[in-house]
């Protein structure tokens, strides 16, 4: 063996020595076993878009409260129909909705939502989050996405709302930060995340990193999903206790970061949510493809339709709360 080869051998061995303790991985495997065994992964989830969606509707509520006399609202209640909206959390390039949530705002004030994996296959080589850009983006892209989501879930959204990622940094700062709790310290250079364990208040860039981090978590994307939900709950809690004046200052931010179709009446939605909604959010059942294709997940429309119908109907036993992956203390990975 040459000296070079010897050195390479030693260098690689040294690199290999850096491996994490197998015990860490074992623990994850044991924890991961149960949910993984059921082939349809039903994980309570809230996408980024839901968080934004809630803020987007709760905040105008406050504005409405100030502008319209309360009596007027009681005399003229919201139209007696459920509203279904497709919420899309856009990635940094604004070309792909990375978070897709079909949300129903019930007449009774309930909020029920089904999250769709962004990698759901919609045709042989197209995933759900690519529909937007292949149809030219903008309103056309959004409408095309609404149509694909309808094919999968059997429910057509009447409206859509798009939220860009930068909005979260701004929103979380504007409400003075959002409290989250982590089970363990974690770092991820990709998402620029560097968090200690335990309760902490995140805002701005940190909030963005918290919501984006997917790598270096025990369960990857599933942990991110649990984070989204934790963030959402904290954000709702925060927003509901804010005073009206402060919330009113958020309106320009929302106009900047949330785009909807022209017909969406946020004030109407906001009135519904004012009744302290019961919130149920779950992911549509999905499975991995049986072939060797990677990067896609398969959503069976028959199962997805049944699931969506049950969840929207508020059938008991439908998942939604609390989130899998969040401990009893609300801490996430």
């Amino acid at each position: 063996m040459t000296n070079d080869e010897l050195l390479i051998r030693q260098a690689i061995a040294t690199e290999a020595e850096q491996a994490v303790d197998p015990g860490v991985v074992l623990a994850t495997l044991r924890r991961g076993r149960k949910p993984r065994r059921t082939r349809t992964m039903v994980v309570a989830v809230a996408g980024l878009a839901v968080a934004a969606g809630i803020v987007a509707v709760v905040v105008p509520l406050t504005a409405a409260r100030e502008q319209a006399p309360p009596a007027a609202q009681e005399v003229a209640p919201s139209p007696a129909a459920d509203q279904t909206i497709l919420l899309m959390g856009m990635d940094a390039s604004d070309e792909r909705p990375d978070s897709l949530v079909l949300a129903r705002f019930g007449v009774d004030g309930s909020f029920r939502a089904v999250s769709l994996p962004r990698d759901s296959r919609v045709s042989s080589d197209l995933r759900l989050n690519a529909v937007f850009s292949t149809n030219g983006g903008g309103d056309a892209g959004a409408q095309a996405t609404v149509t694909e989501v309808e094919k999968l879930t059997g429910v057509r959204a009447q409206h859509y709302a798009m939220v860009d990622m930068a909005g979260f940094a701004a929103l979380s700062s504007a409400v003075g930060g959002v409290e989250v709790c982590l089970k363990a310290p974690t770092k991820d250079p990709y998402a620029k995340a560097d968090f200690k364990a335990g309760k902490q208040v995140v805002s701005g860039e940190q909030a963005l990193a918290f919501l984006r981090q997917r790598h270096h978590l025990p369960m990857g994307d599933l942990d991110r999903i649990a984070r989204h939900q934790a963030f959402l709950r904290a954000l709702i809690g925060k927003v509901s206790t804010e005073d009206a004046t402060r919330l009113a200052t958020l309106a320009p931010l929302l106009r900047q970061h949330v785009r909807t179709d022209p017909g969406l009446d946020l004030i109407d939605i906001a009135r519904r949510l004012a009744k302290r909604p019961s919130v149920a959010i779950a992911t549509v059942p999905w499975s991995e493809p049986t072939g060797g294709t990677t990067g896609f997940v398969i959503v069976d429309p028959a199962a997805a339709r049944q699931f969506t119908a049950d969840l929207f109907a508020g059938k008991p036993g439908t998942p939604g709360e609390p989130a899998n992956g969040a401990g009893g203390d609300g801490c996430v990975n």
Binding site: T14, E15, A19, P22, V25, L26, R37, D188, H216
Partner: protein, 166 residues
């Protein structure tokens, strides 16, 4: 009969983690990948266990997971993160005189294209044959030899001033 998968994990997890760490030059990325792959393998264990070489197959899954990693910029980030890590947590002191050379080599290996590095790690860490590496990388043995010779050339070209001190 005890769970065959559990046995496999008990026997092989450590080695898989080390292999993945050497290949990715990032212990946490390696952890992610190995976890992800084992969870997947667990669900298809009956089929994998029936194969001639389950370990080789799982290693192939791990390798493919890394090679198909979405973030193309990963390789660059990883090598820089390796250097950062080393600065922050220098490897435990080794009395060997060529300690510095070895770590310099580590840095250069981290800069190699991912396939070349995977082949290199299988050759020099796992002591695989060309045929085994070809199976894992799903290519011909000729391609394996070419990966390795390109890698060695790059490491040497980079390395003119270096000679192991005796």
């Amino acid at each position: 009969m005890p769970d065959g998968f559990d046995q496999f994990v008990t026997d092989r997890l450590d080695r898989l983690l080390r292999y993945a760490t050497a290949m990715t030059c990032d212990r946490y990325l390696a952890q992610d990948i190995v976890q992800e792959v084992l969870l997947r393998a667990q669900r298809r264990w009956a089929r994998i266990a029936a194969m001639d070489a389950p370990y080789l197959y799982v290693k192939r899954m791990v390798t493919n997971e890394y090679l198909s990693w979405r973030h193309r910029k990963a390789a660059r980030d990883i090598s820089s993160s390796t250097r950062t890590l080393d600065r922050l947590t220098p490897p435990v002191a080794d009395p060997a005189v060529h300690h510095a050379e070895r770590d310099a080599m580590r840095g250069r290996i981290a800069m190699l294209p991912r396939k070349q590095r995977a082949a290199l790690v299988m050759r020099y860490y796992e002591d695989c044959t060309d045929a085994e590496i070809a199976t894992v990388l799903n290519c011909t043995e000729g391609t394996v030899r070419s990966h390795i010779s390109l890698a060695l050339k790059a490491l040497r070209a980079d390395n003119r001033v270096m000679e192991v001190q005796r």
